[in-house]
Symmetry: C3
Subunit: 413 residues, 3 copies
């Protein structure tokens, strides 16, 4: 048996449900390679914003591991996600992160493709080429409520149900007319699954995020008083929502909303904010003009997650989007974007020094925890410990989702 | 079957002649390792200049992947290429890039070798050592027309025929009395085969090298007018050559000279320059004194190529030599040298700002294309496309040569 | 057979006793991985000084490859070596290199452990956890004469005999009341075994260490005059030792003390210093106050070695400790510490510019030799040469020890 096959078999055999994943899952190159093929390339990945490709010809590129795709609005108003690889000799066709284009011209030998990827010209190829078979390869693409998702290979499942749920939840949020006020790229020295483990519980919040717990109920103990307070805030938010719309589940129960589930790789729900917080800012006060359909600030936070690469917290005045891309067993690229309404003017309607700190601090605290976690998990002395059912149910659920995808009976790898 | 064997078998099975090489050939470590063993260490590699080792004791070191050899002129006037590895405990004996020596003394325990590598002293070794068996190991070395080639392991074929052809072509060029006016080392983030693919066609020249196409005919469409003009320039060059000698094939036909061929890993021929160009300079004017036996400048360009690591364009007044060394599937070291006559004085007879730009620009444009090509080929979505027979016949020929060497029936690895 | 197994089998088959180790042992990742498992994690490794953990709660961390352990003095005065990995989700618990602690609190979810590693609290874990099974995992730890050794996994042999010998030898040296006057961390681009090869012979000393050979007899030819002089100095040292104690073997014979031996991974002995040298300093004069029980300076040098990671030269006034940790086949981390008596005051009792140069120079000369040796051994043209029995008996003995550990019948990997 090959070294790779041995590594996979041994790792799976060692895993115990309800306990942390064994070390091999976080350090072995053979496992990382399979994750890219079996999970990352067949999942729906958050790629960018509808607002970035509002007009025909507008595009952005999205990169994950060794893949690059161009997401572009075509003349018909549709979207395409085109593999950024010339069908001739594999040149990366587009080097820009975003912009406008009327067609794609390969910089090597000028093979020319329409906006939608169809091959239009291929110069000196005198052979009768089957041009219809030589358009830019298409990835799958879908949008919902201002968010664009792509799937690089054959999807492991349809996007339809997720689309309905996300659209419904995002109705009031106005993401489709947002702009990126700021973004930060991080290179985090931790396996991407440890980043999700960190995200999927708030047990660490009291010590790890002293500013976050003032604004949120996630980390509080589930006392009767707590339940009452959260429920009371949820009612206030509901009144403030007015007729803004949006059908996401409300979640005012203790702890994090259960996610992922066996049949759901996405979720969206509203969560109340603590008294004194009308948005996720350091002092709880608004940091930007209202977005979308909101008429008041005090609407709590709309949270969305989608494994394997996305989560978002959207208050009434700004939204913060986090996007992951794995680079190696030991490194994950993370982009955090702060969105405000497209008409908001920096220096007039909002200030970065008020907009950024809440989530910049929270993010960087988490990356630091993840890196120290990864350093510990690399130790050959690491033995996976038990998850706390009351606090880490979502971490366990993440592992279940992960193992199911990695080792499905109809495995792809 | 081992992972390595699986990778090799799958890559070969996926390859279709006339189409670009599959992704695996450009990214897999197992394939790279085999290339080093099976191609690079058994091929004749351009190592340096006869002019650098004109006198007994003069030497230079040549490095390729993890190999290092010392090329030295011995007392008898012969050449040796000695593996730069002490026969005792493997110390790298010589750390200098070039210089003069009278013997080789290992800096570790002073084992001492004659210029030709014979073991002379080995200090404390009281056992009767078979000293004749403990000289520095010899690589194969040969020179032709001022160029020195080495083969690190057993050659896959003899050097004789290449030597005759190169010597004959190089008679007028005077490389054996040249000096290096300048050299630049590049680390190019591309597989070495993509660098050859780039070199083996000029389809990309019109858009990629606007300055190059003004001087050369390679990229022009093969119209009757073009043929006439090229032929006319070739005739002018022939007159200008006078009795300078040199028997290389003339090549005034459209497109690049066919290379490599099933039985030829080298080639040399003269190519006409466009009207107004007496040398490969930006403005077409001479940039240095005449070299070798030339009596006039307007002689076109002598071009030489030798897979896997060398090509050269020699005008009457200067020559530009390009030398490759693979570092990983994803990186190639490239040294470009500009040669002029050894008596030419910088600032008097030539200026670097006039000598360098034509090929520095052309080279750097190519390295940029190669790097973008490599980035695209790394994508799992890459599907090899068809080569254009009229433009990429040499790219296809390169792949044929490569596959033949990698997977010969009497394979070495 | 897997690639890894093939590599191991081929390397062992190629090895010839009495000759340098074949190239594969210094470059193959599969061999490096086995070395970590089979040798490094089952050997007694020098970790640090008893003086650094004199009081209850004092600790230091020790890292080797991907392992990290906390060495701590407990309330009972005992020592523990705790794997620095939380039993919950693998967090690295302690980030500090040294300090004082009263317990260990994981920064992630505040699992709390007693100084000795016992689990005291684990927050939200409502399940009845078997806390006794969830203490920090313990590495093996032992101290002898002021030196602390740990074994990360099951020891390949007991520490008892080594403890007796080291304690006995270290009686007069006063290491348990020393302090670190200075330390330097090196990243050396050489395989760790080549560092040992360099350490296990002094044939290279005359050319490699001109300052070292003035102070020591190691590298001198074994003439009758030399023997007489060394013996005479040994007698002077014995008188100067007075009743300081210490039972280490005296070694005034030519060449290095034989080490390692089939049954001994450690050794300790006194070696005379050359006339004019009362310590290992550039000018031979004392560089710090007397340590331990010494009443005079002129006592020669106490030398200790322990494979795979430690050696030490202790004069009467200072000691120099060298500690290795492998990082990859091509890199070794090396820490060198200079120790003086804890009451000595920098600037008053000693000056770093007099204390450091002798061993800083010697160390850096060796690291340079090791790196050039590694560069040569990487060449595919490297053929292992014969060891000189009179000079390299310890290099051969090191290889014998290494091969025995790597390929023992009851192999662990």
């Amino acid at each position: 048996m090959s070294d790779s096959a041995l590594v996979l078999r041994a790792a799976l055999a060692e895993r115990v449900p309800g306990y942390a994943l064994p070390r091999a899952f976080h350090v072995e190159q053979a496992i990382f390679a399979r994750e890219v093929t079996t999970i990352w390339r067949t999942s729906w990945l958050f790629a960018g914003l509808s607002a970035s490709v509002a007009k025909p010809g507008e595009f952005f590129t999205f990169e994950m591991a060794e893949d690059s795709v161009i997401v572009v609005r075509t003349a018909s108003g549709g979207l395409e996600a085109l593999h950024n690889v010339c069908r001739h000799r594999g040149m990366r066709i587009c080097q820009r992160a975003a912009g406008e284009a009327s067609r794609w011209v390969c910089p090597y030998h000028q093979w020319t493709y329409a906006l939608d990827g169809a091959l239009e010209r291929c110069g000196a190829m005198e052979e009768p080429l089957e041009r219809s078979g030589l358009g830019l390869r298409k990835a799958h693409v879908a949008e919902a409520g201002g968010l664009i998702f792509v799937c690089l290979d054959e999807p492991s499942g349809p996007f339809d149900e997720a689309a309905r749920a996300l659209r419904s939840a995002l109705v009031p949020a106005g993401l489709e007319r947002a702009k990126v006020a700021h973004e930060i790229d991080y290179q985090v020295a931790a396996n991407w699954k440890l980043v999700w483990h960190n995200n999927r519980e708030c047990w660490h919040c009291h010590s790890g995020h002293p500013q976050y717990v003032l604004a949120n109920f996630d980390a509080a103990p589930a006392t009767a008083q707590w339940r009452e307070l959260a429920q009371s805030r949820a009612s206030e938010h509901e009144r403030a929502m007015g007729d803004a719309g949006g059908a996401a589940d409300e979640h005012a129960a203790p702890g994090l909303y259960a996610f992922p589930a066996p049949d759901r790789w996405w979720s969206a729900n509203r969560t109340p904010l603590a008294p004194g917080f009308v948005t996720e800012s350091i002092d709880g006060e608004a940091v930007a003009p209202l977005m979308g359909r909101y008429a008041e600030h005090d609407v709590g936070t709309l949270r969305i997650r989608a494994v394997p690469n996305f989560w978002c917290h959207a208050s009434a005045d700004h939204a913060v989007l986090t996007q992951l891309a794995p680079r190696s067993p030991h490194e994950t690229a993370i982009r955090v974007r702060w969105l405000v309404d497209r008409d908001a003017v920096e220096g007039v309607d909002y200030e970065l020094e008020r907009l950024l700190p809440f989530w910049q601090l929270t993010s960087e605290q988490d990356w630091d925890l993840c890196e120290r976690n990864h350093a510990g998990v690399r130790s050959p002395a690491f033995v996976p410990g038990p998850y706390a059912p009351s606090r880490e149910y979502n971490v366990a659920a993440f592992d279940d989702w992960y193992v199911r995808r990695m080792f499905a009976a109809n495995e792809r790898a």
